[in-house]
């Protein structure tokens, strides 16, 4: 009886804890936070960006968290799976490092630095859509220990440079769509009267050729 009693006590504690956690999470949802809206892009000021649309957060140890930027998460609209090189693998700058899959097609991302993969975000593998909802914090994809941080940082963008570059990328993307979109999908026409653009999930509707072109033009080069 005593054994059952102790077991029951522990199980009750765990259940209560679970409920408390859940209640807390609900409350957290209402807390003000940076909201991703379809009308704007966000850009963390302290993050480095590579021209292939990956971001890097430099940690005190010199290691970096790597993820994809808000631009990619907006244009993708949907993610089915993420494939990452195995833990411990050494990667060279510019070599493929992870793939984002949407249905049968995929985007291959290039490593922004040379180094060793020291961690992979387990949550990303379970729920890849995190990179759409929270690309900069919980949506980190992997951690790399760069061989030489100093030399890497020079080729990356940060602060106003990054912001200028991203604005330019958005413009380039509009041109890209207006060039490619009318041929394949009428829904992609730049419809907004004030010169805006429906950006969210654009890539979901384009055909293979456009997809490959996008990969080549936007993330194919560092």
């Amino acid at each position: 009886m005593v054994a059952l009693f102790v077991l029951a006590t522990i199980l009750i504690c765990i259940t209560i804890d679970y409920l408390v956690q859940r209640a807390q999470k609900k409350r957290e949802v209402y807390q003000p936070q940076v909201v991703l809206s379809s009308e704007s892009f966000i850009l963390p000021r302290g993050y480095f960006f590579s021209k292939a649309h990956t971001w890097l957060e430099l940690l005190f140890s010199g290691k970096v968290y790597v993820g994809v930027d808000d631009f990619i998460s907006k244009v993708l609209g949907k993610v089915d799976a993420i494939e990452i090189l195995p833990l411990g693998e050494k990667v060279k700058k510019g070599e493929p490092i992870f793939k984002i899959k949407q249905g049968a097609r995929e985007l291959t991302f290039l490593s922004p630095v040379t180094g060793k993969i020291t961690a992979i975000n387990p949550n990303i593998l379970e729920s890849p859509e995190t990179i759409l909802k929270d690309p900069y914090l919980n949506g980190w994809i992997l951690m790399i220990e760069p061989e030489d941080v100093a030399s890497e940082v020079k080729n990356l963008l940060i602060g106003s440079e990054a912001s200028r570059w991203l604005k330019n990328e958005i413009k380039r993307f509009r041109e890209f769509i207006s060039r490619e979109a009318p041929k394949f999908s009428p829904t992609l026409e730049p419809t907004l009267a004030d010169g805006g653009l429906v950006i969210k999930g654009v890539l979901q509707n384009v055909d293979e050729k456009t997809w490959e072109k996008f990969e080549k033009e936007f993330i194919g080069q560092l």
Binding site: L11, E39, F41, K167
Partner: protein, 392 residues
Amino acid sequence: MKIKVPKLTFWGFVFWIIVALGIYSTILRFTKGLGAATNLSDNFPWGLWIGFDVLCGVGLAAGGFVIAAAVYIFNLEEYKSILPSAILTAFLGYLLVIVALLYDLGKPWNIWHPIIMWNPESVMFEVAWCVMLYTTVLALEFSPMLFQKLRLEKPQKIIKSLTIPLVVAGVILSTLHQSSLGSLYLIVPEKLHPIWYSSNLPYLFFLSAVAVGPAMVTIESYLSSRAFKREIEIHILAKLAKVTAVALMVYFVLKVEDIVNYKLFPHIFSLGYESLMFWLEFAIGVIVPIALLTNSKIRGSKKGLFVAQLITVLGFILNRLNVSITGLENYTQAGYFPKWTEISVTLFIVALGFAAFRLIAKHLPVFPPEVEERKIIAEGFEVIPIREVFKD
């Protein structure tokens, strides 16, 4: 003037209630004696404090020696990041076992007697020495964290040079200690129910401790990742889970051998209190964890691993309580159920453990430096409205 009232979380509230009740029970225990504070009797001289606080407490601290052996003896560097927290858990675990003993012993002021009054024939003598020595070893293994904080270079160097002998001593003492808790029951063949009595008890206790060590490290990682908002080293914990699975498989074989050797079939296949308790213990302590942990998919997922290892821990606790309490109920004919003050002291000790871990983990470098503050905060964003991009 405004007084700042710290926000009390649900568990914070529970903690203070437990502390209040615990203090009451403590006063009762030390002013009115064991008779007033417990339901122990001449028929049932060992109750919840020995069965749970001591037997389970020591077992659940096994993570310390398992990880220390992996890192230093087998040179598996990858486990190094979880070593400090495993050592801290073990150290606190042993301190709490000593605290529990101070409550349980009739004459706690004589607790040091085994140092000078020897009876090497006694298993309890061995237990006493192992507790003393291993707590010392754990204190030394833990001390670098303190020295690091205090920036004392020299003692840090001295301890570092002693690492390997300390770890070897720790592993040996743990092996002896974990198994000797099982040996304690070797001397009651006529009292302990045959389902649990076996000359293999020391080996069974040791194996289940090896299995539950990594399980506790997993749960402790999970809890601290929650408390300190840090990532879980899931790939390390998933690998550690293999240790649990293998130890449990050996345990399974040994227990089945017992069932055959001691001809336990009539006992375990008859419907009764003992047989039901045995099957419950065997299912959640051995069979289910083996089934779950040998599945690489479950091992690789955070939730799956946590649930599987939690089941391992629950099964372990059930086993210890079955040996120390359930298995003796039939012989003594007298039932035993702990008095509320016994329960409250146990909760008090567990709560103190949680609080101490939290406090130490917050102030000493228990967690590896890889876990760094993420710099991003809400104000750290630049928001670029799309409209503006196309204005210029």
